[in-house]
């Protein structure tokens, strides 16, 4: 069952392998494919939004359809693109960076992926089954409760299923990072990406339950006639806003902290320097996560919480600027005195610094509670969070794609095309979103289907759409690059960037057990230490021994499929008896699979010492 053997398999066998895999590297690839697909879908929706807003009083798409597109753009990008793409790199890289052979719970890891995928598919089925959700990704009640289509049923159930997957992923990574570090890999020697993955997982653990609760209440309101958020029945619509943002604000940090980690890796590697102020960086990450839970109500300054609450949340929000500033300066001083190679991943990191600084600046501006009364729910805020989420998260993910493509696929993405992607996307991004700060202040609220002529908003919107088109071209080139490299790219060296961390010590392709012998970590940037003080190879911390590996399983797929079918059943329960059949069938599949998993012993298998010595892979 080595990877070399797998590559010779036919398509059917490969497909079955991926459907049943519990290998973190393959699950990483699945996340990359799934997240990438939804990223393109969300991008398509973004293009529709920009085309509709290209001209005043435009009738390109209707109001209802626009609202569905706008809602699904936000929901898709956050839950179905950014989150899984972050998980893609966490899966592919974190176990390698800490010197582990897999994550702590490989079965749960696979389950997390399939739950995400089926949840995302369920949500997007709404397009073909009566209409997508139409009330914004924030789904404020009572609009979302009263929305006549099934859209928000799909939203509640689809995100619930996806959310289960995310929660499992988060727990899995906490356990993995806490328990499975290689000998010598103390906390303060962990690479920054692993640190941020750990902190983001902790954030997931505490933030997602709030979403789960909110979605459950919404499900009961919509499907079973409860009235948690319906004001005239004694409910309170503001509670949804609190629940949503108690989850929603940490979610921003769940996304952006791993991106910070990616940039820390990229910047150190391509500056050939150790991270400046490593402990300050770790401390800043923890601090951002901690503050991240105390600022949710800054999304609600106009709700009418009163000046005391508004002031407290304003000050708490401003406080986050301090650790973020520490990070920016630490990156700059990592580059200071370095030997900077402007490769494609480094270009994205270089583009990230000014972009994210602007996003952070406008972040402090919107934190000024009184002034936020003007910014709130306008294009100023739209510009702000795109600077943070595109400038931080998406730039980070594209940097990671280029940086870790060799680790994941054994090939380097074309550098020339990569630079084209960067410049088109970077320029397009600033064209699209910089002007939107001004559009917002000039009186354009967000989520507007059309703006009317004579409001002097025409020029800004037109420029914004042109920028969006450039971003689309950049993305298409990236896609072409990926296809081209996959089809005709050459296998590269196992350490093409002159890396510093453990993932670059592994052979290309990485064996499915990762490390033949677990490496001994002698400090921060362990591979770099061996390169400068040793012979450039990791010192093994153990003799060659039998390796215990988990078996593949089809049950995660079946369990997720069961929830998917049951979810559809719940949504259409009131429409037809098919709904009840769906509920029963789905739950039987789901619980049946769980019972099989619980009853049947699955002890995994061992790779024998003799076979390992024959293969001769891993640390030597």
């Amino acid at each position: 069952m080595s990877t070399a053997a797998l590559e010779k398999q036919g398509f059917g066998a490969t497909l079955w392998d991926y459907l049943t895999t519990v290998d973190h590297k393959k699950i990483g690839i699945l996340y990359l494919l799934g997240g990438g697909f939804f990223f393109l879908l969300g991008g398509l929706e973004a293009m529709l939004i920009r085309l509709q807003l290209m001209l005043p009083d435009n009738e390109l798409i209707g109001a209802q359809f626009y609202n569905e597109v706008m809602t699904m753009h936000g929901t898709t990008m956050i839950f179905l693109a950014a989150m899984p793409l972050i998980f893609a790199f966490m899966n592919a890289i974190v176990p390698l960076q800490i010197g582990a052979r897999d994550v702590a719970f490989p079965f749960v890891n696979a389950l997390g992926f399939w739950l995400f995928l089926f949840g995302g598919l369920l949500l997007n089925l709404s397009w073909f089954m009566g209409g997508a959700p139409d009330g914004g990704w924030t789904a404020y009640a009572p609009f979302s409760i009263w929305s006549p289509t099934h859209g928000f049923d799909f939203y509640a159930i689809g995100l619930q299923i996806t959310g289960f997957g995310t929660l499992m992923g988060g727990i899995n990574f906490i356990v993995t990072i806490v328990n499975m570090r290689a000998p010598g890999m103390t906390y303060m020697r962990m690479p920054l990406f692993t640190w941020t993955a750990l902190i983001a997982s902790v954030l997931i653990l505490f933030a997602f339950p709030a979403l789960t609760v909110g979605l459950f209440l919404m499900t009961f309101d919509r499907l079973f006639g409860a009235n948690f958020f319906v004001p005239e029945m004694g409910g309170n619509e503001i509670i949804w806003e609190h629940l949503f943002w108690i989850f929603g604000h940490p979610e921003v940090y769940i996304l952006v902290l791993p991106a910070f980690g990616i940039f820390s890796e990229v910047i150190t590697t391509f500056s050939k320097k150790r991270l400046f102020g490593y402990s300050a960086m770790v401390f800043a990450t923890v601090l951002i996560a901690f503050f991240g839970f105390m600022v949710w109500a800054h999304h609600m300054f106009t709700v009418g919480m009163g000046p005391i609450a508004n002031s407290i949340f304003a000050i708490a929000t401003m406080a986050i600027a301090v650790p973020t500033g520490i990070k920016i300066f630490n990156w700059l001083f990592t580059m200071w005195g370095g030997n900077i190679r402007l490769t494609t991943p480094m270009l994205w990191a270089a583009g990230f610094i000014p972009t994210f600084t602007i996003g952070g600046m406008t972040g402090v501006m919107v934190a000024v509670a009184a002034a936020d009364l003007q910014y709130h729910d306008t294009y100023f805020v739209v510009a702000h969070f795109h600077y943070v989420i595109v400038g931080g998260v998406v730039f980070g993910l594209i940097a990671a794609t280029h940086y870790w493509w060799p680790t994941m696929f054994g090939k380097i993405l074309n550098e020339k095309l990569g630079k084209w992607t960067f410049w088109l996307f970077f320029i397009g991004f600033h064209l699209t979103f910089f002007i939107q700060h001004f559009l917002g202040l000039m009186g354009m609220p967000r989520r507007y289907w059309k703006f009317l002529p004579g409001q002097e908003l025409e020029v800004g919107n037109f420029i914004s759409t042109i920028g969006a088109l450039l971003m689309a071209v950049g993305t298409i080139i990236l896609l072409y690059n990926i296809v081209k490299t996959t089809v005709s790219g050459e296998k590269c060296d196992s350490d093409p960037w002159d890396g510093r961390t453990l993932e670059w010590s592994l052979p290309n392709p990485t064996p499915h057990y990762n490390f033949k012998q677990l490496p001994l970590v002698r400090g921060l940037d362990p591979l770099w230490i061996e390169k400068t003080q040793g012979n450039g190879k990791m010192i093994p911390a153990e003799p060659v021994n039998d390796i215990h590996m988990p078996n593949n399983s089809f049950l995660p797929f079946m369990m997720s499929l069961g929830l998917f079918i049951a979810g559809l059943g719940f949504i259409f329960r009131t429409d037809s008896t098919m709904g009840y059949i769906g509920i029963v069938a789905g739950l039987v599949i789901f619980f049946g699979s769980m019972i099989i998993r619980s009853v049947k012993d699955d002890l995994g298998y061992h790779i024998h010492k003799e076979d390992l010595e024959e293969e001769g892979a891993g640390a030597e």
């Binding site: 109001a63 009418g304 300066f329 402090v364 009184a370 202040l441």
Partner: protein, 398 residues
Amino acid sequence: MKGWMGRFRALFLLGGLALVLSGCGNPYLSALQPKGEGADMIMDLMILSIVIMLFVFLVVMAIYVFVLVKFRQKKGQEDYIPKQVEGNRVLETIWTVIPIILLLILAVPTVQYTFALSDTTPETQEGEEAENAEEALWIDVTGKQFWWNFDYRDKNVQTSQDLYIPTDRRVYIKLSSGDVIHSFWVPTISGKMDVNPGKNENEMFIQADEEGVYWGQCAEFCGPSHSLMDFRIVAVSPGEFDQWLSDMQNVDPEAEPESEPAREGKKLFSENSCLGCHAVGSSPAMMGPNVTNFGDRSKVAGILDYNKDNIVSWILNPEKHKPGNQMTGNYTVPSKEDAEKIADYLMSLSPSEIGPDDAKDDDYIKPQKDEESDNKNEENNEAEDSDENTNEEQSEEE
């Protein structure tokens, strides 16, 4: 409230930043061209925060450009291994402490202004009797998909879509919603406030520095025509406002219009039970916009140019103009001729001489406090006007 921050703004006005910003956008829509107390205060905060942030940005960019230019790999240096610096305690302390100081500078006025803007205790000005506080003008604003209703509390006056306010004082508004969450936003006058259904009612004050017709919008997503839920604030001088209020109080919903088509329109309006939703006078129907002073509307449905064609078009097919509105499908669509007559009637509904045009001229009419108490004798409105019209120019600034 305007003390030191006002001076600060003047300083940067000279610096040009505020000047550049204030050139942005439509003067009656843009938050960058404040014309009211709330928007003024927020503009001060914006400029303070922009100045601080620009300073930070310039520092970051200076280091950034220097680093990228100076330390980029040069030819022949591919194998150069830089010194592996762990950190620098002094530098790290500096970039922790300076941002904290900058944020404190921003935090103080933030808290100060947050409290000031949310204060809806009616102000008592010096030299005026205490009961003025109780006479503060309160307006109950209701947002509905996709229009606004304005109920002048204890004044027995209701309007929709055009909110008339005097320029000489703060007007207090209470916001509530009849369906989903909306948000009341007039960028040039003040920041926005959410309009929640149920018990989560909000209060705020609005105050316009000068006369004008200011654009208002819904800023919280509320449905298909969220982007079309516009309204206007018509800020007129206090004398004009007093006259408008008394005209509105004395409106006779039964008054027969002058022209023949309009008279027929009035009949059609009640026969087709339009009145079931659209009140004439101050009755609180609130199903649809109040049409008491429809003849003076600045826009049709808040978005279309005010003319007969557009009114007819709206009556015949409201869905075309505001998708998802509550009128579509809930009334019998009249014939085109009937719709024209109804339009004639609606356009004849002009109980007051004060309209949006009065907000656009520079006539400043002083308040008529004495007459206000006994405004039952409506006939001498004309007489009062000529007496009181001292047409004083608005004194600039304080």
